[in-house]
C-alpha cells in the first residue's frame, strides 16, 4: 500500500479528515469529555538533540522526531494503553508526562497543573510504575524501600502504615516485605514497584510495561491485581505503555497506537478493529470436502478475493481461510464456485480479526486488503 493510502486509512481510524492532511491528532476520551481531564497532553513533540561539551550540534530538522504532535486526554477513572512497536515513542511520551523529559514543543497538564511550570505539584499527582527492577535500593528491605519513597511523597508514618499494609495484603507481599530486596523474585519486585507507584494515592498512575519479563502466572496475577485496584479507586486514571496487546485488551478502556512518534490510531480496541476491518476485508473459515482438489486455486482467481489459504485436515476435510472484500458479493461468488465445483460445504464461520493482525497492519501501513491484489490470492 502506498504512503497516501496508508495515511488515508490511519486518518479514518483516528477520525480525522484526510483532506486536511496530517493535522495534530488528538486521542480524546469518548464518554467523559465534559469534566477536567486527569491528564491532558497537547500537541507534544520531541526531537532529541545531543549536546557535547566539545561540539555544539544543532537540531537537525530532518532528524526523525521521537514524538510528533501527539495529543491525548485521559479522564478520571480511565485506563488508556499506549501501544506501538519498539522505538515508536511510548516510553518517551510516558517520560514526558512524568516530567522526566522536556518536550520540544507542546504541553502536559496533570489535573490542570502544567507539568513544566509546576513540575513538583504535577509530580505529586502522579505515580510511576517502571519495569526496571533496579529502581529500588537492593540492600534495603521491601519495607525500608517503600518507607523511603513514601517519605519522598510526604506521607506521614500513619499514612504509610495504613496504605502500605493494605497494598501489601492485596498483593500478597506482606510476608516478604521485611526481606532484603535483592532476594525478591521478578514478580515480587514488580509488585513492589506497583505498590510504590500507588502508595501516594496519585490521581494518575503511569505504568511502563508493568509485566515485562514476568512469567505467565505472575503476569496474570499482576494484571488481575491492577484491574482489582482500579475498581477500588474509580477516580484514579491510568496510562499504561505496553508491548503486550493482550494486556491492553484485558485492562484498557482505550488505546492509542504510536508509530515512529506519530499517533496512528486511537479508540477502544473493538473500535480500532472494526474501523480497520471496514476498510479492509472479511475473513471466513470454510470447512469442505473437495473432490477435485483445486478449489483454492479457482477461488483465488475470483474478484474480491484477497487471500486464500488451504489446510487439509486429518478427517478428509479441507479448511479454506478466505479474506474477501466486504459486502458479501465475494463470499457469494466463492460459495457458488465451490458448490458448482462439486465441493460439499460442511461449515462456514466468519472470523473476528485478531487485534495483533490489526496492530501489525497499522504499524506497517500495509493492511492485508492491499497487500494482495484482489483476484490474485495465494491459493493452496
Amino acid at each position: 500500500m502506498g504512503a497516501c493510502a496508508s495515511e488515508a486509512l490511519c486518518c479514518e481510524i483516528v477520525g480525522m479528515d484526510y483532506e486536511r492532511g496530517m493535522q495534530p491528532t488528538e486521542a480524546k476520551h469518548s464518554a467523559r469529555e465534559d469534566g477536567e481531564p486527569t491528564l491532558s497532553v497537547e500537541s507534544v513533540s520531541k526531537q532529541f538533540v545531543r549536546r557535547s561539551l566539545w561540539r555544539r550540534r544543532r537540531a537537525d530538522a530532518s532528524a526523525p522526531a521521537a514524538l510528533r504532535d501527539v495529543s491525548l486526554r485521559v479522564a478520571p477513572g480511565e485506563m488508556v494503553g499506549i501501544l506501538g512497536p519498539n522505538g515508536a515513542g511510548k516510553t518517551t511520551l510516558l517520560r514526558i508526562i512524568a516530567t522526566l523529559l522536556h518536550p520540544t514543543t507542546g504541553r502536559v497538564r496533570i489535573c490542570g497543573r502544567d507539568a513544566f511550570l509546576e513540575p513538583q505539584r504535577a509530580r505529586s499527582l502522579a505515580g510511576l510504575v517502571t519495569c526496571d527492577e533496579r529502581s529500588f535500593y537492593w540492600r534495603l528491605t521491601g519495607r525500608q524501600n517503600l518507607r523511603f519513597f513514601a517519605a519522598l511523597y510526604g506521607l506521614t508514618k500513619q499514612e504509610f502504615r495504613t496504605r502500605a499494609e493494605e497494598l501489601l495484603e492485596t498483593t500478597g507481599l506482606a510476608d516478604a516485605v521485611d526481606r532484603p530486596y535483592y532476594g525478591y523474585s521478578a514478580g515480587m519486585k514488580q509488585k513492589l514497584a506497583i505498590i510504590r507507584g500507588l502508595l501516594s494515592e496519585p490521581r494518575l498512575v503511569l505504568y511502563d510495561e508493568p509485566t515485562r519479563s514476568l512469567d505467565p502466572l505472575s503476569t496474570q496475577n499482576i494484571r488481575r491485581w491492577i484491574a482489582r485496584k482500579r475498581r477500588h479507586s474509580p477516580q484514579q486514571a491510568h496510562v499504561i505503555a505496553t508491548n503486550q496487546l493482550e494486556e491492553a485488551e484485558q485492562l484498557c478502556d482505550r488505546v492509542l497506537i504510536l508509530n515512529r512518534g506519530s499517533l496512528i490510531a486511537h479508540g477502544t480496541i473493538d473500535e480500532i478493529r472494526h474501523r480497520w476491518q471496514q476498510s479492509s476485508y472479511d475473513e471466513y473459515h470454510i470447512a469442505l470436502r473437495d473432490s477435485q482438489g483445486d478449489v483454492a486455486e479457482r477461488v483465488s482467481r475470483l474478484s474480491g478475493v484477497f487471500a486464500v489459504e488451504r489446510s487439509p485436515g486429518d478427517d478428509g476435510l479441507v479448511t479454506l481461510r478466505l479474506r474477501l472484500s466486504r459486502g458479501g458479493a465475494a463470499l457469494s461468488a466463492a460459495m457458488r464456485l465451490l458448490l458448482d465445483g462439486g465441493a460439499t460445504i460442511v461449515h462456514c464461520e466468519a472470523q473476528k480479526v485478531g487485534f495483533d493482525d490489526v496492530f501489525c497492519a497499522l504499524v506497517l501501513g500495509d493492511p492485508p486488503a492491499a497487500a494482495s491484489t484482489p483476484g490474485k490470492g495465494n491459493g493452496g
Binding site: V49, R51, L101, Q120, F149, A151
Partner: protein, 267 residues
C-alpha cells in the same frame, strides 16, 4: 527533617550492609594516620621556621591537614558520586518522579557521607591527641567547628558544580583526581604555603581550603578564637555563599539541559 532522616537512613543501612568494605575503609583511614605519624616523627626532629605560627610540630600540622582534606574530599565527590550511583543503579528515575526537587535530593543524599567524614575527622584528632601526643588542650573547639562547617559548605558548592558536569559528561573521575592533587598542592595540606613560589601563593589564596586549614590549625593548636580569626571566617563565608549559589545554579541548569537531551538517567 523526616525526609532528610530517611535519606540518611537509606545510605547508612546501605553502607553498613557491606560490612567488610565498611571496616576495611575505616582501617585504611587509620593506616594513613600511621604512615603520616612516622613522616611527622622523621621531620619533627628538624626545626621548621614556617611551622612556628602553629606551634612548631609537623605531626600536628600534618594531622589537621589530612583530617580536613578528608572532609573536603567527601564534599568534592559525594554529590557527583550519588548522582552517578543513582544513574547506574537505576534508582534516579524513581526518585526524580517524586515531588521533591533534585537539589534537595542531592543535598540529603550527601548527609551520610558528611556524617561519616565528620566522625573520621574527630577520630583523626582523638587518635592524634591520645596516641601521638599532639597537644590540643587549648583548642578553641567552637571556632574550629565553624571553620569546619564553612569549608564543607564551600566545597559542597564546588561538589555540586562538579555533579552538574558529571550529569553532562557522565564520567569524570580523572578530572576530580587532578583537582584533588591541585588542592593538596596549593592549600598547605602537607606543607605550609609559605614554601610555595609567590605566584602559587597568590593562587592558593583562591582555594577555600587554604584559609580553612590556616584557621583550623590556629584554632586547634594555638587556641585562637573568633576575634583573631574573624578575617578568615568572613573570607570563608564569602566563598561559601558564592560557591553554594554557583553550584546550585550550575546543577539546576545541568538538570534542565539533560531533561532536554533525554540523558538525565543515562550513564
Amino acid at each position: 527533617m523526616i525526609l532528610a532522616w530517611e535519606f540518611f537512613k537509606r545510605d547508612a543501612v546501605t553502607a553498613l550492609s557491606y560490612r567488610t568494605s565498611f571496616l576495611v575503609q575505616l582501617l585504611g583511614n587509620l593506616l594513613v594516620l600511621g604512615v603520616f605519624y612516622y613522616v611527622g616523627r622523621t621531620i619533627g626532629a628538624a626545626e621548621i621556621p614556617a611551622l612556628k605560627d602553629y606551634g612548631g610540630s609537623y605531626l600536628a600540622f600534618l594531622l589537621i591537614g589530612i583530617a580536613l582534606t578528608d572532609c573536603v574530599g567527601v564534599s568534592l565527590t559525594t554529590f557527583a558520586r550519588q548522582i552517578r550511583e543513582a544513574q547506574m543503579t537505576g534508582a534516579l528515575e524513581a526518585t526524580l518522579m517524586s515531588p521533591v526537587s533534585l537539589s534537595r535530593i542531592l543535598i540529603y543524599s550527601s548527609l551520610w557521607g558528611y556524617f561519616f567524614s565528620a566522625v573520621r575527622f574527630v577520630l583523626y584528632l582523638v587518635i592524634g591527641a591520645v596516641l601521638y601526643g599532639v597537644r590540643m588542650s587549648d583548642a578553641h573547639v567552637t571556632t574550629a567547628s565553624v571553620l569546619f562547617l564553612l569549608v564543607v559548605l564551600c566545597f559542597a558548592g564546588i561538589g555540586m558544580a562538579w555533579a552538574a558536569v558529571v550529569l553532562l559528561i557522565k564520567r569524570g573521575e580523572a578530572v576530580m583526581t587532578v583537582a584533588g592533587y591541585l588542592v593538596v598542592l596549593l592549600s598547605g595540606v602537607l606543607f605550609p604555603t609559605q614554601v610555595l613560589p609567590e605566584w602559587l601563593q597568590r593562587l592558593a589564596e583562591l582555594v577555600p581550603l587554604t584559609h580553612a586549614l590556616e584557621g583550623m590549625r590556629l584554632a586547634l593548636l594555638q587556641g585562637q578564637g573568633f576575634g583573631p580569626l574573624a578575617g578568615t571566617i568572613l573570607t570563608l563565608c564569602g566563598f561559601a555563599v558564592a560557591l553554594l549559589a554557583g553550584g546550585l545554579l550550575a546543577f539546576n541548569a545541568s538538570v534542565r539541559a539533560t531533561k532536554k537531551t533525554g540523558s538525565l538517567t543515562e550513564f
